[in-house]
């Protein structure tokens, strides 16, 4: 059978899977009764609703034309997310200044037109600027440098 709308088909399947997963997880919590709702009652209800909604997307996608599967561009996404994660890790161990630099440099790679001199300039500017604004002006308790 041909899938007429790839996007809706997989989107619906994703929702349905999510709904079923929620229902399975919610079995660990007490369901209770309507008059005495347990912690599992509402999630179970929502999980079922989500699974049904998923099916209303997936099933018609087999018969009716709709949007095709979108093109994903992985480079910008990967570097931006990596940059944020690097900011988090660096901030924890090496302090705020290096974290800002790491974010700008790694995140900057998301744009293929990257020019090293510009990115270095932005990194320096942002480090000085954010320390000035957030640490000095606003007095936020940030660890600026790695503890030696």
């Amino acid at each position: 059978m041909r899938i007429r709308s790839q996007s809706n088909f997989w989107c619906g399947l994703l929702f349905a899977a999510l709904g079923v997963t929620v229902m399975i997880l919610a079995r660990d919590y007490r369901i209770g009764s309507a008059a005495r709702m347990g912690p599992g009652y509402f999630p179970m209800l929502l999980g079922a609703l989500l699974a049904l909604l998923g099916l209303t997307l997936t099933v018609p996608a087999l018969f009716r034309d709709g949007p095709a599967f979108p093109r994903l561009h992985l480079r910008p996404l990967a570097f931006v997310l990596l940059g944020i994660a690097a900011f988090g890790v660096t901030l924890e161990y090496l302090g705020f200044v290096l974290a800002v630099a790491a974010l700008v440099v790694i995140g900057g790679l998301a744009d293929p037109d990257l020019r090293p001199v510009e990115i270095a300039g932005v990194a320096l500017f942002m480090a000085v600027f954010s320390v000035g604004v957030f640490a000095v002006l606003l007095g936020m308790p940030l660890t600026l440098w790695p503890a030696l």
Partner: protein
């Protein structure tokens, strides 16, 4: 005249040196961040939220409201000068605004946007002051079942008025509600969906989610659109003051935009986005003579800009009186109130009149600052926008990360940001709008609690939702809204209105 004494209380709170200063600071920072391409009010408010933590509740709300208007106007500036709407409500402004800029009339376009926004803001402030007290009065009588149904109505309204597929939007709401349940259940103390991660016991970081889906996902999306022509038309800015003829032509457009925005802003899912789209569509139909739209007609800027500001303002009504957010920005405001230890709802007006009326009064003051700030400072925004995006976006990322981190001073929130940015990007690609999800996230725990109480009172009988008259009306309205979409002509209209 009770409203006068109320407004007097409000101005008494708002016109103190401290609150004026924070209002001004909010408007300024909001505009500054909002001008950055691809950063809309939600991301701006989320980013600047930590700045308000140390303030008392009234001052914090005043500053946040200022940030909101500032971001809104900043988005319009970007729309006019570089054809990139900072957020969806500025999309229609790009149509005529950017054309005006290309014709060397960026100045009058920015000027009329500021003037229209100010007029709309002034009138919408009065609407808020007039309509909130009676609404809060009614809301005080609501039972749990009524609240539950009100939220159902609000969410359905948000979905119906949103863009794109209805089924996907409803699914987004449900996922949002589920995400809202992550953390410790208040009634049983059971940890739900925390997967043994201690940091999740307090629930999902609202700011990380909003920032990931509205800020970071948007940055990634913009990076993909590279190569699209992006040229700043600011070198020939000209005078920002519109000519007499411009003003005469725009006045009726501003009036219509204001009226429409004030009404639509109150609706769930309304606010700035719907208002600006509707205002542009209507303006195109009724404006006489009807030439030039899409080709640099000043009315095509005046009407949606007035409408989105009026809508932004009146969307505070359901938030302040019912505690129900009508758009993601209001959801953030509710989050901010809760951080301040205030449970939003109809009792806020009676218990904290100084907070309520102070915010209302500062709305008008904020609009005044907006006008005073933007007409002289347009040159600065133009220079900021001349910086190439490849150098701007790393700076945007830094601001987003600092904003998220400083909410709790917790690195774990940054990893949540990574996760939600990734999810937000995929959802965007699949044609799922993030706004309904964010509303669901805020309303999730509240809806569960009201449903629990409603069913507890009725001894488990679910018909309580339709036997209580108020609740029945809300549910009926929700059903009618859903049904209306199924009618082909209305469906076609909805798609047409959202397409522009």
């Amino acid at each position: 005249m009770e409203i006068l004494s109320n407004l007097a209380i409000g101005f008494g709170v708002a016109v103190t040196l401290k609150n004026l200063a924070y209002c001004f600071l909010g408007v300024f920072l909001g505009t500054l961040i909002g001008v950055l391409p691809g950063i809309g009010p939600v991301a701006t408010v989320a980013m600047l939220l930590p700045l308000t933590f140390a303030l008392d509740p009234a001052t914090a709300m005043i500053m946040l409201a200022g940030i909101y208007y500032g971001a809104q106007y900043g988005g319009s500036t970007t729309a006019i000068l570089v054809n990139i709407p900072g957020e969806s409500s500025a999309v229609v402004t790009t149509l005529d605004g950017y054309q005006m800029a290309r014709q060397g009339r960026a100045g009058p376009a920015l000027g009329i946007a500021a003037i229209g926004s100010f007029v709309a803001g002034t009138i919408a402030t009065l609407v808020v002051a007039l309509f909130s007290p009676p609404l809060a009065e009614i809301a005080l009588k609501f039972q749990p079942a009524d609240y539950f149904s009100l939220m159902v109505f609000g969410l359905i309204g948000a979905v119906v008025l949103a863009r794109g597929s209805l089924r996907k939007a409803i699914a987004m709401v449900v996922i949002g509600l589920l995400l809202g349940l992550v953390g410790t259940d208040v009634n049983s103390g059971v940890m739900r969906f925390t997967f043994g991660i201690p940091a999740l016991t307090e629930g999902i970081s609202f700011v990380a989610l909003a920032m990931g889906m509205f800020g970071i996902a948007e940055v990634v999306y913009n990076l993909e659109q590279r190569g699209a022509s992006r040229q700043v038309f600011g070198s020939r800015l000209g005078s920002v003051l519109p000519s007499r003829a411009d003003l005469a032509q725009s006045a009726p457009a501003i009036a219509r935009g204001t009226l429409l925005g004030s009404v639509l802003g109150i609706l769930p899912g309304g606010g700035a986005l719907l208002s600006s789209f509707a205002a542009y569509t209507i303006e195109k139909k009724v404006a006489r003579p009807p030439r030039n739209f899409g080709d640099g007609d000043i009315r095509g800027v005046a009407a949606p800009e007035s409408a989105n500001n009026a809508g932004a303002q009146t969307s505070f009504i359901p938030m302040l009186t019912l505690g129900v957010p009508s758009n993601p920005t209001m959801a953030l405001m509710i989050g901010a109130l809760m951080i301040q230890g205030i449970q939003p709802g109809p009792q806020v007006m009676s218990q904290r009149p100084e907070l309520f009326w102070g915010v209302v009064a500062s709305m008008w003051i904020g609009n005044l600052f907006l006008l005073a700030l933007n007409l002289p400072m347009v040159g600065l925004w133009v220079r900021l926008l001349a910086v190439p995006y490849r150098m701007l976006f790393p700076a945007i990322l830094v601001f987003c990360c600092i904003g998220v981190f400083t909410i709790n001073n917790n690195v774990f929130d940054l990893f949540q940001l990574v996760v939600f940015a990734g999810i937000g990007y995929v959802l965007l690609k699949l044609g799922c709008e993030p706004a309904p999800l964010v509303l669901g996230l805020v309303l999730g725990p509240m809806m569960e609690e009201y449903l629990r109480r409603a069913l507890l009172i009725s001894l488990g009988d679910p018909t309580v939702l339709v036997t209580s008259p108020i609740s029945a009306v809300f549910l009926l309205a929700a059903v009618l809204l859903l049904a209306s979409i199924a009618i082909p002509t209305i469906r076609a209209k909805r798609e047409e209105a959202m397409k522009e």
